[in-house]
Every structure is written in C-alpha cells, then in structure tokens.
Subunit: 374 residues, 2 copies
C-alpha cells in the first residue's frame, strides 16, 4: 500500500491515525504509519508539553497535528481575546438550555460543580484559539503536517505553514468543499464519508471518495469514514485514494487513554448504534447513541444550538463526565464512526497496523488472482 504520498512524508504505510493520545501518535508513527494529534481541548501550554513528549519518544518518525478552525461565526470579532469571546458566547446561551443539560446530567447521577460550568469551553474551536496551537506546532521539527478538521484554513495560515516547510491537510464531505480546499492550496484532501466518527456529511464514502479524487486530481486524497481494516484501505486505494485517515480504531488500542468501560461500550455497539447528532458541537457529528443524544432530539425538548454555542452547554457535560468516565458513558460524548460495529477487542497499536497491512495484501492478492484466472 506504499503510495507516492508515503515518500513525500517519509512513512512506510499511508495509514493516518487521528487521536487525542500522544502515546498512540508515537506508536502509530513508529509502526510505519502517521500519527496525528488532535489539538482541540489543549491550551497552548498543554500542547507544548504533549508535543515535547512526542518528540522525545517518536524517534526519527514524522507526525501531524490536527486543529479545528470552522468558518467564521456570526458576530465574532477576530481581535477578541479568548476570554472576551467566551464571555460573549456564554451570554448568548438560553438559560433553558443550560437548565435542561444540568437536569439531564443530574438525572444520571453526574454532579456538575461551578468549575465545570465555568470551564473554558472553547479550547481550539475557533480561529482565535487554534492559531496559537499552530504556532506551537510549527516549533516542533518532526511535525510534518497540520490538518484542519472543519473547513478551509485561512489563506495566511496556509502560507505560514507552507513557509515553514510543512504540508496542510483539510477534511471535506463534498467535491465542492474539496475544490475550495484545492484552490486555497491545501496539499492533502481528506474525504470523509457520512460513516465517519465526528463531524461528517451525509454522502457515503463509496460515493464520496472517487468524486473527490476526480475533483482535485492529481492532488492526493485520503479516504476517511469507514476505515477499520486493511480491506477497507484496499477499497480506498481501488477508488483512487492515496491513503486512509482513521480515527475510531485508535480508541480501541492499549495505548489509548480510554477506559475498559468505554471500550466495552464500543465492543457492544453495532454499526446501527451511532447517530449524527448536533447535541455536542452544534454541527452534525457522529457518535454513540446514548441518553444525551436521544434527549436532545426528543420532541418537546430544547433543540441543539449552533456551533459554537452548543459547546457552551455541552462543555459542562464533557467536563463533568470526564471525571467519572466509567459511570457516565450514557451521557458522555463518545464520537465514533460506523466501523464501531467491527470492533471485538482491544489491540496493541503495532498489531493493528500489522493486521491492516496483512488484510490489505490479502485483498489485493485476491484481486490479482481473479485477474490472472481470466
């Protein structure tokens, strides 16, 4: 599965692993893939600590950092400080929504204290908060890629990243978005089908991937949404992609911070147990269906706000549930794709990469034999 993109980035396999755990980043890159650290939720200071740790443990391997810069929000001034921004957004949240969320948590035995409620709930979800993350990332020479999970990064940021010798990647859910990325000179387009965990559109991967490949050719495209085996990577490469971008699988490795209770919830779930819900971020985002997601779409209850306002409500839930990860899985934020239905056990990261490579070879060998037997 070694494609041209592998040579450009100095990796063996075009397996891009999105994760919030530095240990997974290191394990993936050391196994021949490309680990990408999700920076949302880290202050610049925390991010610096994570990247320093990665640098010290990853050897000579490259890795990436994923940030979230959505399109501009209404009424937002680019010169506002993060504190001013948070204050302004907090003032826009209806009390009804906060009360509903607090009651939902209380009904599930999740205590909310004032610190959760006042927690800085915007870390990395806006240009104002993502820009310092990029600055930190660019001081780390082994960071070879900055990816944006939502929308086309601003032109000056793309130029800045290019000037520092790094590549820029961006996710998309339609050929039109892909073209916008390409016109802004994004180097690598990540086409994420509706199966994917986290923010995603409605068009399925089997339809989306080849459309994006065609729209931006010869720019390299990574396949996202439904990657959880080497068979699926073979399908992605058959459709013209140069590699695969995966997230869900890395919740299910020994190196991940997820607890056994969370991982058991993923093992139990079928592919029908996820839902595209606006209940955490305000934009459609695929996650495990649970009492929180059901409550926010039940008739008569408040409707989720837009992004980033909904996060001013759900941030409280995320802060409160993260303290009791084993007890609160029914109201916690569990982003995961439909591949969750494939998971049966927790593996070592290196074993996953090795398995995927073997499955890929099994797949492509079968195709070669079919062609040879004609």
């Amino acid at each position: 599965m070694h494609t041209a993109l592998c040579d450009e980035l100095g990796i063996e396999f075009p397996i891009f692993a999105f994760t919030h755990c530095r240990d997974v980043v290191v394990a993936v890159s050391k196994a021949g893939g490309f680990g990408v650290l999700g920076a949302v939720g880290f202050t610049p200071e925390q991010l610096e600590i994570e990247l320093k740790w990665i640098d010290e443990n990853i050897g000579d391997h490259p890795y990436g950092v994923d940030i979230v810069i959505p399109n501009k929000y209404e009424g937002m001034d680019a010169n506002m400080s993060t504190d001013e921004l948070t204050k302004m957004l907090q003032s826009m949240v209806p009390q009804q929504h906060l009360d509903f969320a607090k009651k939902l948590l209380a009904d599930h035995g999740v205590p909310v204290d004032d610190a959760d409620n006042n927690a800085l709930q915007l870390l990395g979800w806006t240009e104002a908060t993502a820009t310092p993350q990029v600055e930190i990332a660019l001081t780390h020479p082994k960071v070879k890629l900055i990816a944006n999970a939502l929308g086309t990064p601003p032109a000056d940021m793309i130029k800045h990243i290019h000037d520092s010798g790094r590549k820029v990647a961006a996710l998309c859910g339609s050929p039109a978005q892909a073209l916008k990325h390409a016109e802004a000179d994004v180097d690598i387009i990540i086409a994420q089908g509706g199966e994917g965990g986290g923010h995603c559109g409605e068009v399925g991967s089997i339809v989306l991937w080849p459309q994006v490949v065609k729209a931006v050719a010869p720019r390299p495209v990574l396949a996202a949404g439904g990657i959880g085996s080497g068979y699926q990577i073979a399908a992605a490469l058959a459709l013209g992609c140069q590699g695969a971008w995966s997230g869900s699988q890395w919740l299910m490795v020994e190196e991940a911070e997820n607890t056994p209770v969370q991982q058991a919830a993923y093992v139990k779930a079928s592919s029908r147990d996820t839902v595209r819900s606006r209940s955490f971020t305000g934009k459609p985002c695929r996650m495990l269906k649970n009492d929180w997601t059901e409550a926010w779409q039940a008739e008569g209850n408040p409707e989720p706000l837009g992004m980033p306002l909904q996060y001013m409500v759900s941030g409280m839930a995320v802060a409160a549930t993260s303290k009791y990860p084993n007890e609160t899985v029914d109201v916690a934020f569990n982003p995961v794709g439909q591949v969750v239905g494939q998971f049966s056990k927790v593996e070592k990261t290196a074993a996953v990469i090795e398995r995927w490579v073997q499955e890929y070879l099994e797949s492509t060998s079968r195709l070669e034999e079919l062609n040879a037997s004609v």
Copy 2:
C-alpha cells in the same frame, strides 16, 4: 472481475442490473452482465408479456426477476384476495392524508382523476400480490434468479424456487438481516448500504459490505448502494463481495424508458440531492429530494403512514404523474441512490458495461503496480 458466482449463473461479469425496463434487462445480459426485471407494478398478465418479450430477445443469456415481499402487515389475512386487501387498506387511510396529497398535486398542476385514486395501488407489494408473479417467472426457463427486495422470502417460496432449479437472492441492510437470509437458505445475499436508491438502511456500504461478507461466508454477497463505476466494483471485490448489484445507473441508459427531462434531473443532481424518505412507500427509501418529499417532512403536515398504507396515498401521485413525466418531476417518485452525483450523460447499456470493465481493470492494475513497486 469474473468470480465463482459468474460460473454458477453462466455470465461473464458479476454486474447485476436492477431495472423496470425489459429492454435494459436484455441489453445488460447480452453485454455479459445479469439483467433483473423489477416486477412491482406489473399484474401477472403484464409480467407474462414482459418475460415472453425478454425470452424472445435475450438469446441464450440468463436473467432474473425481482419481487417485493415485505414482512407480514398487521391485520392482514393471507387468504384475502388482492381486491379485499386493497379495500381493507383503503379504509384505513385517514382522509386528511388523501386531501393533503391531492392538494399537493393540484398545487403543482397535476390533475388527479378518479381512476388514479381508485387505481389498484398494491401491485406486487404484498405476499398475496407477489406470489403469482413468482409463479409466472418460474414458467420461463431463462429466469435463473428470483430476488426479494425487502426481507427474507417465506420458507415455502424459497423451497419452491429451489425445487425449480433457480437461485434465490435477498437484500439486506445489516449483518443480522443477512444471517436471517442465510439461515433461510437464501443463495445470494445482496448487502445494500445507505447510499443506495430505493429502500435502504443507514449503514454505509464501506462498513456494511465486509460485515455481511464475514457474517454469511462462504455464501456469495453482492455489493449494493453506491455502485456506478468499475472503480466501485473493484472496491466491492476488495471487500470480499462476489459481484455488484446496481440500479441507479440503468435509469441513465438509452434503452431505459425514462424521459430526457427525468434524465436531465438526474444529471443536475449532486449526491447531496437525494433523501431517505418515507413519503412514497412508508419505509425509508432513497430518492431525489423534491417538493413531494419536502412537503411530507415539513412540520405541521401529515406524517407519512407505514407500509403499505402510505402507498394507498402515494399510488395516486404515481399514477397521476406517470401520465405527465416531463411536467411533474417535482412531485414524482424518483428513486435513485447517491451515485446520481456521478451521472453526466446518457449512454448505451453495452457502453456502460464496457466502461465499468475498463475502470475495474484500471483500478486493479493500479493496485498491482503498487504491490509490485514495493
């Protein structure tokens, strides 16, 4: 792309083409694929005429017939005649729904006459109406496959088809449904992802296909939902399927009965312009978004009834719009999958098959080169 299943059916390529047009059935089978005539909507007498025509024109090639036998409906007696059944169902439809549908059609300049309203609206949508279709099909020796589009066929019907030397296929949208088919001794499992036109589930093809392959191995699986090129067939075979089941593409061939206005609507549509709607059949069914689908999901309007009751309402729309196909595309039933976004022109059926084979070879050659260059 020649798989073991091709030898069992005596075909060159495992390309299964679902269509309501007998000309397309003939053209696909003559080009090396396997045409399948959708029998819904035909009386037994009409079906006999269609199959006789196919027999006379298809040469020595095999073909299939697709029927629709959903799970049992509440309150339905298997011994009821079609007329009794229709009468009973009509009595269960709220007047509000009929009035809403009539007004919607009138607002779009579509006249509804009493014949439309009283038209037999259940042709082939129940066991009572599908069974005679199967009996007719089994009198035609070139019919080698009976497929059921919705649910596991009744055990006695499967046995009857097997005894006559034919194979049985059935669609599914989850591994659990696939297992149910396999346990009932369905020979070929068609795994249809949420991208597909017509009735479909929510799980995307890239996730669903390998799960179904694994669940029913070594029983052959056909990939459905998102098949519109040889690249997508290569992906399906990479995921372990033995062939591909396609429907949307065959609306866009010269041999199809669709009018240029309808085909222009498909060319114009992107993959985001379809919707899973209950507004025609009562079950989630993917189709072009239009004024009819939007109206049935707008707040304050009647909600679609279940199957088959909703069809007692929409049947009137289908009958009325079919008389003016060019003027009524905005309220007509246009089932199509997300691959609609790939369509740019109308082709000859044989040219589509040839193109798909070439694309498949391009795809698999690229994979072979990648493996060879390591």
